[in-house]
């Protein structure tokens, strides 16, 4: 018996390296909000990750030196809760041995994950959290591929100023780190543009009755609205503003109108603008990776839903990480970080370059937002890019509603 066990042990020990050598694997970990209020937006990002993984594995994997590595994901449901994110990222790093991490969806959860990844010296690519704060704390290994929160509404403010230099703006937004950062920056930008901010209020993220707030918007005599938060509150705000006939000439809502589900609101959706990280109509010329039209077509064929900016940013997280690993020729976090610092490329998502000064390390320095607006196209509601002028696919609709509706 003892001899048999010894032979078995030796066989296992000598056999294992043979198995390992056959399949080189890079493990990437992340959490997704498969349940909880962030679930609609998180799903798009997760599909973006998966689309990239299947594409890169289908082509033989990531090339590191002269080896090829298949990409394997380990992921968990964070239930849209920050506390879960911290437990799960610790698990991903320590137990699942993830070598690289993707961010969860939303600024709050990304900030929670960043604490863990920085403590462990692991690279995390952030495609879902736009708040700048985690990058201002001396981080070295988090890299944001999307435009940061401070720039979200600058296009909307400029577009509004062009259409109505005397606009009176009501700002009503969710009390969460992302929305507060976006609207605080927008308020500054509006003031500098000479626009009047007549109302500035936040609401708890789980609010469902916006009736009192809409009444206040009406009382404030505002003719423009900037605000919202994520999908649920943004969609409900749009609907209730329409039902209560708030009669605004301009509405910019965060996140919610960028989702195709927003079309279900029908007339309430018409004219609503949304700052978007990416729309299928943008025409950046990619240096590598698919062209916009190919990405859109193949994504829709695979997932039976249109690609939105969450999916595009998720895909880009993978593509940029792959690019950096291949340039570094190594899986060592320091070498890959250096390659990310040196990254200056254009993909179908846009121009990607990271800030490298210690005060803002990892913040996205080159990517720009576009402003999309829901308009009638051939009898159907759809999003058009209306700002900046260079990326425009349709003129801005202003005022968005007939005065007597």
């Amino acid at each position: 018996m003892k001899a048999f066990s010894a032979i078995l042990a030796i066989a296992t020990i000598t056999a294992s390296p043979v198995f390992a050598a056959d399949t080189n694997i890079i493990t990437i970990g992340f959490t997704a909000s498969r349940t909880g209020p962030l679930n609609v937006d998180s799903l798009g990002q997760e599909h973006g990750f998966e689309f990239w993984r299947d594409e890169v594995n289908g082509k033989g994997g990531i090339q590191v030196g002269d080896q090829h590595y298949q990409v394997k994901f380990v992921s968990y449901d964070d239930q849209s809760v920050g506390g879960r994110v911290q437990q799960l990222y610790t698990r991903l790093i320590n137990q699942d041995k993830a070598q690289f991490l993707f961010s969860p969806y939303s600024s709050g959860l990304t900030a929670a994950a960043a604490v863990i990844t920085e403590q462990n010296g692991k690279i995390m690519i952030d495609s879902g959290g736009a708040e700048e704060k985690p990058f201002e704390l001396g981080s070295k290994h988090i890299f944001m591929v999307i435009t940061s929160a401070g720039h979200y509404l600058s296009g909307a403010v400029e577009a509004l100023k062009e259409k109505n230099p005397h606009a009176r703006i009501a700002m009503v937004y969710s009390d969460d780190p992302f929305s507060k950062t976006v609207l605080a920056a927008a308020k500054e930008q509006a003031k500098q543009a000479g626009l009047d901010v007549v109302m500035d209020e936040s609401y708890g993220p789980s609010t469902t009755d916006f009736g009192p707030i809409v009444n206040k918007v009406i009382s404030s005599n505002a003719d423009a609205f900037l605000g919202g938060g994520h999908y649920s509150d943004g969609a409900t705000l749009a609907r209730q503003m329409y039902e209560q006939k708030a009669n605004l000439n301009w509405i910019s809502i965060l996140v919610a109108p960028a989702d195709d589900k927003f079309a279900q609101l029908g007339s309430a959706a018409l004219g609503v603008t949304v700052p978007s990280q990416w729309e299928p109509q943008v025409s950046y010329k990619p240096e590598f990776g698919p062209a916009t039209a190919d990405f859109v077509k193949n994504f829709e064929a695979k997932f039976h839903q249109k690609a939105d900016y969450h999916a595009a940013s998720g895909y880009t997280a993978g593509a940029i990480l792959q690019h950096a690993i291949e340039k570094a020729g190594s899986l060592d976090p320091e070498k890959v970080s250096q390659a990310l610092n040196d990254t200056d490329v254009t993909t179908f998502f846009g121009h990607i370059k990271f800030a490298t000064d210690p005060a803002h390390h990892g913040l996205q320095a080159a990517h720009e937002m576009v402003l999309a607006q829901w308009q009638q196209m051939n009898g159907q509601l759809g999003r058009q890019v209306v700002w900046p002028a260079a990326a425009r696919s349709a003129p801005i609709l202003y005022p968005i509603r007939e005065a007597s509706h």
């Binding site: 349940t35 679930n39 609401y203 609010t207 009444n215 999908y231 649920s232 039902e243 209560q244």
Partner: protein
Amino acid sequence: MLGILASIIDGLLVGLVYGLGAMGLTLIWGVMDVINLTHGAMMVAGMFALYLLTDAFGLSPYAVLPPALIGGFFAGILLYWIAIHRMIGRPPLMSLLSTFSVNLVLIGIGTAVWGTALFNVSVSVPGLSIGRYTFPGAHILAAVLAAVIAWLLYLFLHHTRLGKAIRAVANNREAAELVAIPTTRVLAVSVGIGVALAAVSGALIGTLFPFTVLSGDGYQLKGFVVTVLGGLGNPVGALLGGLALGLLEGLVAPFVPVSWTLVIEFTLFVLVLIAFPRGIFSSRRGAL
């Protein structure tokens, strides 16, 4: 000025619907001293009934109300036999725990089936516009229906034999048994009615606001506030308490940031309790 009035009126409309929900809670509480912690889950059941029936059969949202009432009634009877029957007469903590457990089971099943995604039922009823302010038609209709159902409950409790039996049991269960009122049947029916009210108020709320499986907690909390304001065991008081809460919310909203509304609401609630420990509208404990 008109803005404040509009806010108050809208608050009253929604308050009526909260009051309807609280009537179910207070009825069960008043009749058998049981705090029904499945109240929130039953409201959510009403919301989902609204969503599923309108989605699957294309019914008008308001046609879902009778099935919600009937379904809620039978669910309540089932709840009574499962979780409450053996707890009658025992310390209140037992019934609290047993209804809480049923609540956890229901929410768990709900989350497993539907996740925590947001659901929305689109209701288009023309609203009423006064000046710049519009009262959504759905709010007006929900308030009217809540008032009608509350009035029907009042008629039932005061002009039918069974209703009077329920009030008798609420008043003094032992004495009711002495006059041959079948108390077990009465208790079961009371829970049935209480849950039916929770379900139908949930369905009405579903026509106003979006909801998730977890939405019940918030409305249950408001239900407790309204129940205590209105006096335990007093359904009419509950309706008035709902109006009072709605009035408060409407009055406060134009003046302070919306996030402060709950803080002020609960502070005033505590002050009211200190001044009126039995609730504003209660005359005597157990008087229905």
